[in-house]
Subunit: 467 residues, 2 copies
């Protein structure tokens, strides 16, 4: 009974909107049959798995700056052309490249044990022969931030921030500070190096790679992440009161500017003025795994969904543009280059898939009010997939963030984050981590989104640019 | 109704046994209250977790032949003395030692990718600079066995035996042939080296170590295991028709005879003639992990159970002897040395825990018929832990196998094998793999077994020695 009052209020609200809008303003109760048919077809389609299997097997790891990066772009062009997309091309840009060399970490005291480690992107190098120093232990990033200036001289700062899995992955933002800014803070306080507990939710031996950044004027120190299990071993030794000494070798360095490129493919629409529907993921990966969940899945899901729409009878109103961004991991240079190159083009919406291959559980969008009936229809089309409607606060992401920031509406199809950070940026990010059934649910969600948005008769105007 | 006839037959059988046995021949319906009390106390006891945490943290990996092995024995003596055991000592013996050096494997063609690899125990070494050769692919060990003599010259045999989890771990025996004898077979057929898919049930990046053996007269070739995920990557490339070339570096070698030792501790009984109740696990571990499930758990479970019995009021009839065998992984030298050193002593039963830390689901025993009432009582005491009675065909194990083979009754407390081979011999065998609740169930089962067997009034005579 308590639900009737809001419902009546909603009905009253409908009577207050202009007649021209009334036809679509009442929330639909059933999905458009054409959209539903494409969505359900996607649930039996293997295209996405074939793409992620091909990319991870035939190309393998494809870190920015390695020989595999241009090989990945060439593979992608051939694959997207073979799938039937139009205007398939590479859009090149330049970016600074950091390169990983020999890396190792060993427990030296209280006894010798080989540890599993990875250098963080933009890490400085250790001297020849490595650094062998006692650690200064900090249970959390906040403890490091409170350390006195100069107190870390002659020491390796060890930061043991623990991360818990969350549905929306928000703990990555809060606990990831140890990696994002910990090295910069430790450098400013005089540390010789910094080693962190991997930013991950597993308890395994695979270290989690990832970028860090140093402020201008701060000399980068060696910065690395131990696997969670190795960090927990160090934590236990610290709790036993044993002084811990580590030997750290990181032969990493900046190698200067190199070429990267975004791979673009299109499904042309009938109305160029209606704006582009941009979808994609990133083609690059970290080097430890083969980039299956990060982000082979994302490029596969978005392209597979676009192909299902492309192969359906008829033509959509809006052009669907699939972009496999050439660089996300080393600093989001792909997304920035795209926004710069396409600043003059009208985009209706932008959306990326970059959170693994587990099921979509929620969607968020920032379409302007006049286009909200599209969102209402999308909500109905996604419901059979178990997807709920969020609070219209899309995150956007690193790849599409720059174009969204210019005033383009964003759409998020949020995947479950419960397992993602078990494997994110680790050697374990391989094909076996992909659940084919959940991958298909993703493709179905993206198919429903594309079919709904690309063919919507409503205008999708710009929104207020982000500051 | 169909069950009544066997029951009546059993009743008839009871009337046929001598009067002296009738008092115990009817299966008991409730556990001995003293045994039940100790069993239930074990379910709340943290001792086993403390032992495995201490051993894996304070000692770490402890491979035979490394500096950690004597450190592990010293730690163990101190720990067992501190727990209150009597006659704590190291019983030394000599064994041949194989040593791991630098190891790596790289995919060279169709493209470069670093693979996760481990050399197998007793592997030969590659030449300086490694071996870079095409692979000869065999889907299973049987396919390798069928290869023509000489057909593998100039090639690295690649054997892709896949293993599935089973409750009893029996797939290790059947699928492990690729590791146990594959290298010997490949060497005899002229292969330059052999690489196998790890003998494991996971799909991760941690390779599974383990021993192999070469016949007398066969020169050991380099022999290694790729992680399952890496092997699956190679399999996919082979299925795509891509010729695969590997670069393999294994700087491994035999280093000669060294000293090892079994750590022995006792809970003296009141009747030396009643025979020793021998329990234990092995102290050594492979070097990739910290030996938590293999076999920190086993030494911890058996010692914790013995301590609970030791700390109870009164004294048991039989001496309980806890042995932490110094070497199991490199060839079972600890168990063989024990059997040789203690050949003249009467043992009532022998049992080892060496299958991880997951719950016990079944027990098996080979007690002589006159002692079967003990087994009946044990069955009742174990039932509340969810443990079923098997077919009286204990496996024994590598550590207690040699003494059992002399005619000693064996008892198995079988743990679930569903997860064990995900982590067995890998870098992932660390403390985090131990489920404290299941560990306690193990201690409760072993406590019930010790309290039942050590204090049983029945004689436990020898059984027929194994041939």
């Amino acid at each position: 009974m308590t639900r009737i009052a809001p419902f009546l209020a909603a009905c009253a609200a409908i009577t207050a909107v202009p007649l021209s809008a009334q036809r679509t303003a009442a929330p639909p109760t059933a999905a458009d049959p054409k959209v539903a048919a494409l969505r359900d077809k996607a649930l039996t389609d293997d295209t996405a798995y074939q793409i992620v299997e091909g990319l991870t097997t035939e190309v393998g790891p494809r870190m920015t700056g390695t020989e595999a990066a241009p090989r990945a772009r060439a593979w992608s062009v051939a694959r997207l052309k073979a799938m039937g997309f139009k205007n398939v091309r590479i859009e090149p840009y330049q970016l600074p490249v950091w390169s990983r060399g020999t890396e190792s970490a060993d427990l030296v005291a209280p006894y010798a044990q080989k540890l599993h480690v990875v250098g963080l992107g933009n890490s400085g190098a250790t001297p020849a022969g490595g650094l062998t120093l006692p650690i200064a232990y900090f249970a959390t990033y906040n403890d490091l931030a409170l350390a006195a200036d100069g107190s870390l001289k002659g020491k390796i700062a060890f930061v043991s921030n623990a991360m818990q899995p969350t549905q929306d992955g928000s703990s990555y933002g809060s606990q990831g500070t140890a990696r994002f800014v910990g090295p910069n803070v430790a450098a400013k306080k005089g540390a010789a190096a910094i080693v962190i507990r991997s930013i991950g939710t597993d308890h395994g031996r695979g270290p989690h790679a990832g970028n860090t950044n140093f402020e201008a004027g701060v000399t980068p120190i060696p910065a690395a992440a131990l696997s969670v299990a190795d960090a927990e071993q160090v934590e236990r030794l610290v709790k036993l009161g044993k002084p811990v000494t580590l030997k750290l070798v990181l032969d990493d360095r900046q190698v200067g500017m190199r070429e990267s490129g975004n791979v673009v493919a299109e499904v042309p629409g009938t109305d160029p003025k209606a704006g582009i529907v941009l979808v994609g993921g990133h083609l690059d990966s970290w080097d430890l795994g083969t980039g299956a969940i990060d982000d082979g899945a994302g490029v596969a899901i978005t392209a597979a969904a676009a192909k299902i729409v492309m192969d359906a009878p008829g033509t959509m109103r809006r052009t669907i543009r699939v972009v496999w961004f050439g660089d996300e991991e080393s600093g989001g240079f792909g997304g920035a280059a795209y926004a710069k190159a396409h600043a003059g083009e009208r985009h209706a919406t932008a959306a990326e898939s970059d959170f693994g291959a587990d099921s979509v559980w929620r969607f968020e969008s920032s379409l302007p009010d006049a286009a909200k009936p599209i969102v209402d229809r999308l909500a109905v089309a996604l419901t059979p997939l178990g997807i709920i409607r969020g609070a219209d606060m899309p995150h956007g992401g690193t790849d599409v963030g720059p174009i969204i920031a210019t005033g383009v509406a964003g759409i998020d199809l949020n995947q479950s984050g419960q397992r993602y950070f078990d494997w994110h940026h680790t050697p374990e990010d391989t094909l076996d981590r992909i659940d084919p059934a959940q991958l298909k649910q993703n493709v179905a969600a993206w198919t429903a989104m594309l079919a709904t948005v690309a063919d919507a008769p409503e205008e999708i105007g710009p929104i207020a640019p982000k500051k």
